[in-house]
């Protein structure tokens, strides 16, 4: 048994215990890896109805400056995405980069809707990275922009095709939000900040809630039979099927956004200017390509290939890459993986072998997401 004495607990810890969760240490927190339903059924339930996830371990913080242009410019100095152009009530995915263009963390950034909040940007970062992220950000900010770390709020994700109809019963205005929009809401009279986004490939919300009200919000959602609690185990298989990177595995300080195949987070202005850490290197990679690329991999048969499994070219003994995330996709009904391979082997359909326990399993480079994303796009 792991020593749990030093582990932190989220405001929903008591609820997890009450719901019969199996708790494991994760990023310094005691977190539910699964509930009595089990990983497989939790995964499938999220895809067909709605799952509730406690992601309060993630870091929530504000960047606070005198006006949007100033705060956005301060953040742009650390990330390769457009922040100046981010409109009120909109959210964007981006990455913190080091001087080599390597990824320090990936994060979500939202600009508040209200005019009186001009100059504020909300960020949500990975639990395991948050202390270092805050150090990096705080050290880089100009005098007139401050980092305010939020310690007194929980973060609850509600994900799945029925998330919107359930959410609307408690916060009717949530229904009007489109994918990657964020705004304050009254949830049964509790002031929350919600974004219409998540980490499962499904429609849904991430809801930032004052810690004291977290259990009330979670219980209100769980009272609906369309919602069940879902642990970190299913969260991982859901994001893998959705083709989404897990920081520290699929992307890290040694991979750039180009190698990680997440250049969608870089908008045109930044790609032209290269005015971000590691910009020269990233621009060169954009122009000339990279040695290696992150790809999706589908395997023949049922045996999963796990993180660390070696990848080779059929008919050769040469190891050309490694699996960075892998497992069994419950919705796909088959094993799936992500990994890095030389760019010449990154074309969809390229045949490869993955070594699992000394056996070479046949695999093919596959399009991601593996399971179609079902985000809610507002009609124009």
């Amino acid at each position: 048994m792991a020593d749990t004495a030093d582990l932190l607990r989220t405001p929903l810890f008591d609820l997890h215990t009450e719901l019969g969760a199996k708790l494991v240490p994760f990023a310094g927190y005691e977190m539910p890896v699964q509930y009595p339903l089990g990983v497989l059924k939790e995964h499938l339930f999220t895809r067909e109805s709605a799952g509730l996830f406690d992601v309060s371990h993630m870091g929530q913080a504000w960047l606070v400056g005198p006006d949007h242009a100033t705060t956005a410019a301060a953040l742009e100095a650390l990330v390769p995405s457009n922040m100046k152009e981010l409109k009120p009530g909109k959210q964007r995915y981006t990455v913190l980069l080091n001087d080599n263009g390597g990824i320090i963390d990936d994060l979500m950034v939202s600009r508040p809707l209200a005019a009186e909040d001009d100059g504020r940007l909300m960020i949500v970062v990975n639990a395991a990275c948050k202390d270092n992220d805050y150090k990096v950000i705080a050290a880089a900010l100009p005098e007139n922009v401050k980092l305010e770390i939020v310690e007194d709020r929980a973060l609850i994700a509600l994900q799945g095709p029925k998330a919107a109809e359930v959410m609307a019963l408690h916060a009717p205005e949530a229904a009007q939000m489109g994918f990657m929009e964020a705004r304050p809401l009254e949830f049964d009279g509790i002031s929350v900040i919600a974004s219409r986004s998540g980490y499962t490939g499904e429609d849904g919300y991430e809801i930032s809630v004052p810690a004291g009200a977290a259990e009330a919000v979670a219980k209100a959602l769980l009272a609906d039979e369309r919602v069940k609690p879902i642990g970190l185990g299913a969260r991982d298989s859901l994001r893998l099927e959705a083709g989404l990177c897990l920081y520290g595995h699929d992307i890290d300080e040694n991979t750039t956004p180009v190698e990680g195949n997440i250049t969608f987070c870089m908008q045109k202005r930044r790609k032209e200017a290269g005015d971000f850490p590691g910009g020269d290197r990233v621009l060169k990679q954009l122009a000339e390509g990279t040695e290696n690329l992150r790809v999706g991999l589908l395997l023949d048969g049922r045996a999963p290939a796990r993180e660390g499994a070696e990848i080779r070219v059929p008919g050769t003994e040469e190891i050309v890459g490694r699996v960075t995330s892998g497992g069994f996709g419950p919705t796909l009904g088959a094993p799936l993986a992500m990994g890095y391979v030389p760019s010449r082997l990154a074309a969809i359909g390229t045949e490869l072998e993955i070594l699992v326990r000394g056996r070479a399993l046949k695999a093919k480079v596959a399009e991601m997401p593996f399971v179609a994303q079902r985000y809610y796009r507002k009609p124009k």
Partner: protein, 123 residues
């Protein structure tokens, strides 16, 4: 017929000189939903504690060890097509393999059902 258990959460049912081996209900419960089982080849000679089979849940892979020396005489093909059976009938229809005992005296070092239950209590 006698039943034995190991600290690696396997059970053996011995009939004559052949033992049927599976993982315990406790083990399947710890693993969670089983999505893949890899069986040993028939005819393979194995030694006690060799890794002979693999059971994988959505999240992780675990080894199944040979509880005794011997020769693999049959793998349970049912598990190849329906790995989830391990969660339903771990100590029955979802046995993993049959092994012809190479050294029956090793059985004396294994646990009885009562000992195994007591062992699980300590975990």
């Amino acid at each position: 017929m006698s039943t034995y258990f190991t600290k690696d959460h396997e059970w053996l049912k011995v009939e004559g000189d052949v033992a049927t081996v599976g993982i315990t209900d406790f083990a399947q419960n710890q693993l969670g939903d089983v999505v893949y089982v890899e069986l040993p080849e028939n005819g393979k000679s194995v030694s006690q504690d060799d890794e002979v089979a693999v059971v994988e849940s959505v999240k992780a892979a675990s080894e199944v060890y040979a509880p005794v020396d011997g020769e693999i005489v049959e793998g349970n093909e049912l598990l190849v097509d329906e790995p989830a059976k391990v969660n339903e009938e771990a100590e029955g229809a979802a046995w993993f393999f049959k092994i012809k005992l190479g050294n029956a005296s090793q059985l004396e070092g294994l646990m009885s059902e009562a000992d195994y239950k007591a062992f699980v209590e300590t975990l």
